[in-house]
């Protein structure tokens, strides 16, 4: 019987909830593992999970400098979608979407993936055509996409300003029905528990402070909890990628770390059915199951590793939210936080072998990290296990920038803050 079920909840309720086991163990590090994954966030944990589940590699440690899931997996706006423009990205995020759709069952952990759809609003005929191009690209790769018109949109989102007199009037939108939101922490915890139950050691408060090397080859990590040897070392450190690789002497990645702020309002009765984005600027909003409006916008726009943003961006995001939903002016902002994004030079990620022998690299997630979690781990595990990329992540190399084989989703070029 599954560890978690309605039945187990009742059984435990009767016994006063005294028999629940820890979701994951708190083991001490072993001297060596087959694979050490650096980063106990969504991507690192899912990598470990799929290494164990798909490739039978269970002698794995995930090392995390803070508490599990303390990075971006717990700091995002929980949106899951695969509405990308470029085929490489569509294929990647569609793979992720399919894993999402069965993730709760796979993990026996309710990650609350709710496919309530994402709607991208267009405000000029030109923008509408851009969305049509994107939606058609998705359809040509087997994804789901529909165009909506203002009357349909007004019915879906009461309170949305669809007046033709609006500064940026709504002329239509692109809907991906299968998109939605998931409970971000549950994803980290679910993968952690799944990996743990398959034998993976999750080592929290275990910061990497150096690499063990034999010649060029990486053969393990030095951590605040001692040296750990590994046949393979996989880096899944997102915003901290630069800091980690610097320990291996690499300081020329096509990555900048930037802060992205996110916001939650006080709890409200249901008012937003799905995820909706505004095209007059850059804003995305949904409503959590608890009732808070969860929203965000642009990056602050400067290099930083501090998980704190500044006020002008806060004001910008609030203004844009109200340009969409003027009725939310009296709703109150409850919390804000910042996550450090690993912004790449073309806005697309890197999942690859190398750059050093014995090392594997997963980074460059920009805004896309949370929704990528299952596919990122699945493909990274494949790449680690087989020492070669899967066909889906084969385009996401590190050398593509120098070679000019870019996957520039927004066409902004080597200016990371614009992706």
């Amino acid at each position: 019987m599954a560890e978690y079920s309605a039945f187990s909840i009742l059984k435990n309720a009767i016994s006063g909830n005294r028999d629940w086991k820890p979701a994951w163990r708190k083991p001490d590090p072993k001297p060596s593992y087959d694979v050490v994954v650096i980063g106990g966030g969504g991507h690192g944990l899912s990598t470990a999970y799929y290494l164990a589940k798909e490739h039978g590699i269970t002698n794995v440690a995930v090392v995390e400098k803070g508490y599990l899931g303390s990075g971006n997996v717990g700091r995002n706006t929980t949106i899951v979608r695969s509405n990308y423009l470029l085929p490489e990205n569509i294929r990647f995020y569609e793979h992720s979407m399919k894993l999402w759709e069965n993730l709760s069952h796979d993990l026996n952990y309710n990650v609350m993936f709710s496919q309530r759809g994402i709607l991208n609003l267009a405000h000029t005929p030109g923008q509408f055509d851009d969305y049509a191009r994107r939606g058609n690209a998705m359809r040509h790769e087997g994804g789901d996409a529909e165009l909506l018109y203002p009357d349909q949109i007004a019915r879906l989102y009461p309170g949305l300003d669809v007046s033709p007199k609006a500064r940026f009037p709504v002329v239509g939108g692109l809907l991906q029905p299968r998109a939605g939101t998931a409970r971000h922490d549950a994803v980290a915890w679910g993968y952690a528990r799944g990996a743990d139950r398959r034998g993976v050691d999750i080592l929290e408060n275990c910061e990497v402070i150096g690499f063990l090397r034999e010649g060029d080859r990486i053969v393990g990590v030095q951590t605040t909890r001692g040296d750990i040897r590994a046949r393979k070392v996989a880096v899944a450190a997102a915003g901290s990628t630069g800091r980690v690789l610097k320990l291996a002497g690499i300081d020329n990645l096509p990555i900048e770390s930037h802060v992205l702020q996110a916001f939650v309002s006080e709890s409200l009765k249901p008012i937003l059915p799905g995820v909706i984005t505004w095209g007059g600027g850059h804003l995305y909003v949904s409503q959590s199951d608890k009732g808070g409006l969860v929203f965000g916008g642009d990056l602050d726009g400067y290099n930083t590793y501090a998980q704190r943003g500044n006020l002008p961006l806060v004001e910008e995001v609030m203004s844009e939210l109200l340009a969409m939903f003027p009725g939310f002016a009296k709703v109150r902002l409850l919390r804000s936080w910042g996550g450090v994004m690993d912004m790449s030079m073309d806005g697309s990620p890197i999942i690859t072998t190398g750059p050093l022998p014995g090392m594997y690299l997963n980074c460059g997630w920009c805004y896309g990290g949370f929704k990528a979690t299952p596919a990122s781990g699945w493909l990274f595990a494949w790449t680690i296990a087989k020492n070669a990329p899967h066909e889906i992540n084969a385009p996401f190399t590190l050398d593509r920038f120098h070679r000019g084989i870019l996957i520039d989703e927004k066409g902004q070029g080597a200016t990371p803050k614009l992706h």
Binding site: Y4, I9, A13, N17, W20, R25, E101, H105, Y109, N110, M112, F113, S114, Q115, T124, G126, D129, Y131, A132, R133, N136, A137, R139, H140, E146, R167, F168, P169, W189, S265, E266, S267, K269, P270, I271, G280, D289, K290, G291, R308, N310, L311, E315, M318, S319, L322, A323, G327, F328, A329, K330, R332, L333, R335, S336, R400, G404, I405, D408, G413
Partner: protein, 997 residues
Amino acid sequence: MSPRRGNTAGRVDRTRTIRFSFDGKSLTGHAGDTLASALLANGISLVARSFKYHRPRGVLTAGIDEPSALVTVLKGEEREPNVPATMLEIYDGLVVVSQNRFPSLAVDVGAVNGLAGKAISAGFYYKTFMGPVIGPLKGTRFWMVCEHFIRRAAGLGSAGTAPDSSRYERMYAFCDVLVVGSGPAGLMAAKAASEGGARVILAELDSRFGGSANWSGETIDSLPAADWAADTVRDLSGRENVRLLPRTTVWGYYDSNGLAALERVTDHKEKPGKGEPRHRHWSIRAGTVVLATGAFERPLVFPGNDRPGVMLASAAQRYAAEFGVLPGEKIAVFANNDGAYAAAKTLRDSGAAITAIVDVRADISAEARAIASAVGGHLLLRHAVVATEGGKHVSGIKVQGFDLASRRLTGEARHLDADCLIVSGGWSPVIHLASQAGAAPKWDETLQAFLPPEPAQNWIGAGSFNGRFTTAEALAEGLSAGLRAAGGNGHPEAVPEVEHAAPFSEPAPVFEIPAKGKAFVDLQHDVTAEDVRLAHREGFISVEHLKRYTTLGMATDQGKTSNVPGLAIMADALGKPVAEVGTTRFRPPFASVSIGALAAERYGDIKPERLTPMHDWHVAQGAKMYAAGLWYRPQIYGKPGETVEQAYVRETKTVREIAGIVDVSTLGKIAVQGPDAATLLDRVYTNMFSTLAVNKARYGLMLREEGIAFDDGTTWRLGEHDFLMTTTTANAGKVMQHLEYYLDVVWPDLKVHVTSVTDQWAGAAIAGPKAREILATCVTGTAVDNATLPFMGIVSGEIAGVPVKICRLSFSGEMAFEVYCGAGHGTHVWEALVEAGKPFGMVPYGLEALGTLRIEKGHVTGAEIDGRTTASDLHLDWMLSKKKPFIGSNMLGREGLVAGDRLRLVGLISLDNRPLNGGAHIVEQVDEANPRHSIGHITAVCYSPALGKYIGLALVKGGKSRHGTRAFISDPLRKRFGPVEIVSHHFFDPEGSRMHG
């Protein structure tokens, strides 16, 4: 007067009666009341329902830390949900309803959740609702069905969908010293700093300045504390260098001592004054910040601690002393420190009976003991409250012996009468802003509280904020902080004296009473002590995991009363000191702030409208305006009954047959001046400009460093050292920054100045076979014939008495001229041109016709220069000079940029005589059911009157090699499929004979 309202105490104005309604019931209060004090005065204690179990809840606090008493304020169609009754000042006509209950506050069916009890403890939803793995409810379906009901049960108040009629504003402020909090410490700091000559802002989140001075009952400088505070405020308000901000919550401490504050300007008024904002968003830049934010009292955790009638001791004291309201008539006290004794005294003095004082400690101070005997009632030391009794209000309590050392209950529980229980579990300094400023707080074992960290920015703490809880200490620290902030040495001469000081002691280290029953830690989110222990059992032991797993501290009050008790219970479960369990860093906002306030002046005015000099003419002529970035441009000048297509086809035909005039003022224009101007242009354009003769123009292309196409436009040489560069409308700002960057950072040796002159010039383009004739009829001072004004030539002249510059250039393929004049003369010249064109039948044309003309000519714009295409993709290789390096020249040849399968520009002709759609894809084989194998997409479409066909531009793999072949459009989104012929993008007059002729 209600029995709960005393006759004298407090600062409410008993001569002014205020009428308001709560859940449809008309009630009265007095000026100066909060909703909470007014409800209590009316004997109403059931105010709200909790989030999860829908338990009845009352008023716990008297301030911004309130977890329970949340209401919705209605103003017509507008709703403001989740307002703490403790912060809501009543006014005549105030309409308030309770929330999160159905059908009513007293009878709420949601309370059935409480029966599920332990089955819906913390984190239960992660473990269930996953549904079957096969069948119609597989995947995410089952969860989504369950979620539908969960969402409806969750949430608190309802937001409105009607736009808010209020006005919001922002204010930037600068000061030497920002004092946050106006209790005795803050007032002293503000006074001292202002006397030192500093520019001071004093912000107080309450409507009254004074903080605890308003209700402590102490004496400062021989005056009742409240009077001392009032005198001090009066003194400050008379000073030029002091700005007092009441009802102002400083909620964010950002980098470089930038603070954000929310002033509630008119929330307490029935109607705002003319032009008065509801909220003012203050963005304050302070030299030094004095944090005198005080402390929050903590409740104790015991079964039944959430029942209406249970209140923090300081809150009860404040209601009695500041509002003249008694929260009960038979009041019991439960404490682990001396502070609650002062509350008991105030309540007794205000007319309530104290039935018992229950204290977990064995020993209390002599002062406390003296108060206990003075107020009467039982003094039960080494005792604890183990339950409250009653339905929707406290009717009694159960007490039992308690051993502090073992923290075990002893003896039998017994009943005591009470209609109100006031509790005190110690005090937590309000260190949120200090933590936001960039450091983690430190646990103090003696005070059982987190104290502020070492300053990571320029702030000074004072008073309870620092864990200095007595008024005497607050005054001394405030004075010292004020002097230091104003640049002094911080050694005060004389500190005001405090008499009748309230007793103070460190609290006994007790947070929870281990008795059976639901004991709440987070009252709003219904997180119980048992939930915290469950989180511990399941390994969610780091503070962040505790919060996220149980939702402790995530409610609207952000855990102001619950974080520390929750942490202490976790520490106890772990068998570790609190210090080792840690605390979370606080992030903005300190307390929730209206989204409207943060949007401020941009609420209802998100972006300025940018208008060309001829805007009003276009509107007057019935043009349909199109938002292009911030600009507005005519889309079509439609005639009655015309569709958009009919209008642009008519306009386009007229241009091709006669002439048309279009407003091109939005094009970016940059003056490039200086001895090295030509050198700069050679470096930023792919083609050569140094060879351009004066009074000639040239079309130029710019790349980004990566070798990708960036922008295009014509640049005019007006003089040896003087160029006028034009850019696309969309990229004007970017190109300007691009040039400035290279001049400042990369080539500082170049003597070139660039200035945006977009707004200096009005631009009108006249195109068509009759264009030259029309011009000739209205231009004076120059000829416009082919010799004087050849292709790409520039002349100066006058039109209707206004100097103009005319350049003969064309994007339409027709004989065309761009006429530039000073923007202030734009309409004047435009009208003269229109008048000159009338005899010929010239028409004004809009963006659609402009687009059609350029598509017919195969000119690229932003849809093709989309940040991914190269010059070669767009067949602009001929513009890449081989004689000189330029930005991007060294990156052009990389393998990815010259790969054979890149998307390249082609033309398309619809073969089924139906319109094409922008954004449609191109395929070799149509598969409507299962679209796949896209080879490209359409970037621009139109009906071409010149060809009599629907045509488009597209980016397609293979590009030119497909010319003359058939393909299909595949647009499953709009269900449009059909055959097209791929052709050259030069649809019309490829030799350019018309424009050169």
